[in-house]
């Protein structure tokens, strides 16, 4: 990982510098990102944007198409660097490149088709400073956790969509990253499978406590999975709702609290 020296806390935006009792692990700090569009125009999805990601929580980001959700997620992962102003702070330092400590999971094309589940999940292990036994133990444990122990020798084309995404999650988690970024990971799955995958992700979070940031289009998924739901307004992205959804009342799909927030978010996105 390439990172710059520690930054001066005084230069942080007031909302981040003030912080909460737990220091955020990952922060977009006055981040601006722009790139050339069609016919000489400039697309600027993020302008002076700040967002602090709380350690050990699941943060779900929602917003209309083109609101800059994926751009934000990629920037948080260190995949977009060289912003003209601001940047992404990871553990208090500017992030200059992707790091194995922040791992991203995509909607598709996550698994290498020439490797079986075991080798796909263990792909990143050789870059970790652990002994062979430790690697083996972590590999077995994570494959067991995501329920793929019986499919360890199967190749991606022999797996269902849900199994593929579970393998991708296992591969991301086996290296024990500090942050897991999920870019609409379940959008290609049917409703039943989506719910099962959400429950499984929550279960993994309970077991490992990994900080997660998930971009999704699904309001229900965001409320039930996330401890916090952030709604982005249209370009340049701005936060139009930042709701703490960790209360168990939000997890009852038929409860009034859940339905009220769902309606509110849907109105905001429309």
């Amino acid at each position: 990982m390439t990172i710059s020296p520690p930054m001066d806390v005084d230069s942080l935006p007031p909302d981040i510098a003030a912080g909460s009792c737990v220091r955020p692990i990952l922060e977009a700090s006055r981040l601006s990102i722009s790139y050339p569009g069609q016919r000489g125009t400039v697309v600027a999805p993020l302008q002076d944007f700040s967002l602090a990601i709380q350690t050990g929580k699941i943060t779900c980001i929602l917003g209309a198409s083109g609101s800059g959700k994926t751009t934000l997620l990629r920037a948080l992962g260190g995949f977009i660097t060289g912003a003209p102003t601001g940047g992404v702070l990871f553990k208090g330092r500017y992030l200059q490149a992707p790091t194995p400590e922040i791992v991203m999971i995509f909607q598709e094309n996550n698994l290498f088709p020439w490797l079986n589940v075991r080798d796909n999940v263990g792909f990143g292990l050789r870059y970790r400073p652990w002994t062979g036994e430790q690697k083996e133990s972590r590999l077995s444990s994570i494959i067991e956790t995501v329920g793929l122990a019986d499919a360890i020798d199967r190749y991606p084309h022999q797996l269902s969509g849900g199994m593929r995404q579970r393998a991708a999650i296992a591969r991301a988690l086996v290296t024990e990253p500090r942050v897991l970024l999920l870019d609409e990971p379940f959008s290609a799955l049917d409703v039943t499978l989506r719910r099962r995958m959400s429950e499984m992700t929550n279960m993994i979070w309970s077991a490992l406590g990994t900080t997660m940031v998930m971009v999704t289009h699904n309001v229900e998924e965001a409320i039930t999975m996330g401890h916090r739901v952030v709604i982005l307004g249209y370009q340049p992205a701005r936060i139009i709702l930042d709701e703490d959804t960790s209360d168990p009342e939000f997890k009852d799909r038929y409860g009034t609290t859940f339905l009220a927030l769902q309606r509110r978010i849907e109105n905001l996105i429309e």
């Binding site: 995949f79 992707p98 790091t99 791992v103 991203m104 995509f106 598709e108 094309n109 990143g124 591969r171």
Partner: protein, 260 residues
């Protein structure tokens, strides 16, 4: 697929082959004129067996297996070098857009040249030697495979590289753990389809210049007005080409079977 439907192509293919052979033998037995130009397998195989499966005059006669090995060695060495060189060139070119723009026109200009067209140049430069034959095969396959490699590299989903980099793989590790396996099946399919061109080029080279190999058997038959030898040479070439194609097909389906 049931066992019956799996066996059907093999059974039907064998039956059709046996029918052709039967008609061929029958036409010769019936004394049709075609048998003098196309002696049946029972005739030319008997003649070749009489000579102990050795081709040539007197003490210079050499076993057929030697011709077979010479031709195979030329084709596979040329194709192997071209395969490795094409992947290396394609990978290096993919690192730089400017390099690709500079080299691409040359690749597209040289790719359509049939390998047979390189025979005179190869003989002038390398003389009548194995190197000339290997060079002909190389030139016939290399440019096409390089273009295929570039195109396969462009087809790799960007997520593959992102995932590998994200998990800690260095650029070199990303090449041999992601790029290489991702492009291998596609490039191999093209290698298989170009085998026929390489095979023909070597046979022609053996006919016009080199003194041994399967192509030389046919030329010897022509010089001696020996139809049995010509037909035997043709059958050996056909059967060897078929076997190699099956082997390449097996590698394509069983060893580099995945699709990106």
């Amino acid at each position: 697929m049931t066992n019956a439907s799996k066996a059907a192509p093999i059974v039907l293919g064998t039956l059709s082959l046996l029918t052709v052979l039967g008609l061929w033998e029958w036409s010769a037995a019936a004394g049709l004129a075609v048998s003098t130009v196309l002696p049946p397998p029972s005739q030319f195989m008997a003649v070749v067996a009489e000579s102990g499966f050795r081709i040539g005059m007197g003490s210079q006669a050499s076993p057929i297996s030697q011709s077979l090995v010479s031709t195979f060695l030329r084709v596979f060495t040329g194709m192997g070098i071209a395969f490795a060189a094409a992947i290396l060139t394609g990978a290096l070119l993919s690192l730089s857009r400017v390099a690709t723009w500079c080299i691409s026109p040359l690749l597209y200009l040289l790719a359509p040249i049939a390998p047979i067209a390189w025979i005179p140049t190869a003989i002038v430069v390398f003389g009548i030697s194995n190197t000339a034959a290997i060079f002909i095969v190389f030139m016939g396959v290399y440019f096409v495979l390089t273009i295929a490699t570039l195109s396969e590299i462009r087809r790799i989903p960007p997520e593959f590289h992102t995932v590998a980099a994200n998990l800690g793989a260095s650029p070199f590790e990303r090449f041999y753990r992601v790029t290489l396996p991702a492009i291998l099946p596609g490039v191999f399919v093209l290698l298989r389809s170009n085998f026929t061109a390489a095979w023909m080029a070597v046979l022609v080279a053996e006919m016009v210049g080199l003194r041994d190999g399967l192509g030389a058997i046919i030329m010897m038959g022509r010089n001696l007005f020996n139809n049995d030898l010509i037909l035997f040479g043709m059958v050996i070439i056909g059967v060897s080409g078929f076997v190699v194609d099956r082997v390449l097909n097996f590698i394509s389906n069983r060893i580099v079977w995945w699709r990106v």
